[in-house]
Symmetry: C2
Subunit: 241 residues, 2 copies
DNA sequence: GCTAGTGCACTGGTCTGACCAGTAGGCTAC
DNA sequence: GTAGCCTACTGGTCAGACCAGTGCACTAGC
């Protein structure tokens, strides 16, 4: 050993270069959400490749959720604002393929929600508290399962938003929807509702009082209560004090 | 209102159907990592579509990290084990496009690492403790930045693994690498090393003693210490008691 | 004048068929 | 027995074509 240090080479496909270029244009702000890409036929001229190559690049970008194309649209593909759809997709795959257990997912939710409540208790603004109040009111007023669930989601969203951390917000959202999807076939007994509302109100009171640790503990406890029927005994105990 | 409830329709592209079918085959275990897909020309017969359509489907699957194809490979595309690459990608985009601040990322790390230490303190096995010891030994023995960094990563990985939660492990990993990437241009002053090692050892001692809350607090504190130079004053205080 | 309807030019989705540069494995010549 | 060639494949790319949609300008009718 001692000769020149060579680097492994990798052949780069044409469509990958196109993906890179468009991706960079989006990330640098040169292309903003809502704007349109040139048509595929224009792109094939600009990149001087064939249309199939352009299309493969667009498929990759579409899979990443950065772009959407609609047949017949005279304006070409639309640049989309970032959505956690791709994040959601890969986490879902992770959950399905990589033997991620429901316990792990719920535990992760407990971690995230706990942090969200902790931060929310210290950072909340009046309007965010109002959002939480409104969500609880909607939960109480809800007629069907659907409306109740939506209001429930709104509440957790408001808390996560109050945490001031977008990553917590997005990840909570993704994991929650995956978890709910996993147990969608089992029934959410309506008699749990009043208890669920009470839990939410306690946690909200702690948030309002600025008692982060208490709010976090209540939130974890509520999650543990809610999901323990679907889990082996004691699977979530580690995160409860 | 009162007529039949119609559902919005969505035209489904041919390549999407192919993606679904292959994806499902992978998720159901019918196709296992390491196995090969038929060649594109075979697939076009099986799905009775053209090769371009098959290829667009493969591009999508490849973008999701489920499949890899190599020119000339007589065996067709390879089914890959799940990697967090797609997760990594979408989180990186999130960080770049969605104005995710370094503070949010580090805060998120504090949340995850805190949880990892907390769980590790309660669930660790002897061999996992040994892994952590070994990693610290490597940190101490490291000559260059690179070796030190690698050992550091190994340590955190060992802790996350000891948490027993694969989601925490993977997400910590992803977020850590994004954060390190963001501050890669700044120097990691070598004089911080001995302090960093000391921090790790304190936290490890708490883990060994089974004191989860202490371990978690030390871990958060260490992260806060390490990253505060790159952040506005007090940006991480909310998660320190 | 304005609106309703009709074309048209263009889009993306798909297909066909072709070429090229790689690869792996069998075959041949030594 | 082995080194090296051959071949039958592979994926990557290209060219050209058709179709069903879409939006818009234009036009016919009021």
């Amino acid at each position: 050993m001692g000769g020149p240090r060579f680097q492994p080479v990798r052949t780069v496909r044409a469509y990958e270069r196109i993906v890179e270029q468009i991706e960079q244009a989006v990330e640098s702000g040169e292309l903003r959400p809502g704007e349109r890409l040139p048509s595929e036929r224009d792109l094939m001229v600009q990149f001087s490749v064939s249309r199939s190559t352009v299309r493969e690049a667009l498929r990759v970008l579409q899979a990443r959720g950065m772009v959407r194309s609609r047949p017949g649209d005279p304006n070409g593909a639309e640049v989309l604002p970032f959505t956690p759809a791709a994040l959601h997709k890969s986490m879902t795959t992770l959950a399905r393929v990589d033997e991620l257990s429901l316990a792990e997912l719920v535990q992760f939710r407990m971690v995230l929600e706990g942090a969200a409540y902790l931060l929310a208790a210290r950072l909340h603004t009046p309007s965010q508290l109002a959002d939480m109040d409104a969500a609880i009111a909607r939960m109480r007023a809800a007629e069907g399962e659907e409306a109740f669930g939506a209001a429930d989601v709104d509440f957790h969203d408001a808390v996560a938003r109050a945490s001031g951390n977008k990553l917590i917000l997005i990840c909570s959202d993704v994991v929650r929807s995956i978890v709910l999807n996993l147990i969608a076939d089992k029934i959410r007994a309506p008699e749990l509702r009043s208890r669920s509302i009470a839990h939410h109100e306690e946690a909200l009171a702690a948030v309002r009082a600025g008692d982060g640790p208490l709010a976090a503990r209540l939130a974890r406890q509520a999650l543990s209560d809610f999901y323990s029927p679907y889990l082996p005994e004691g699977a979530l105990d580690e995160l409860l004090e």
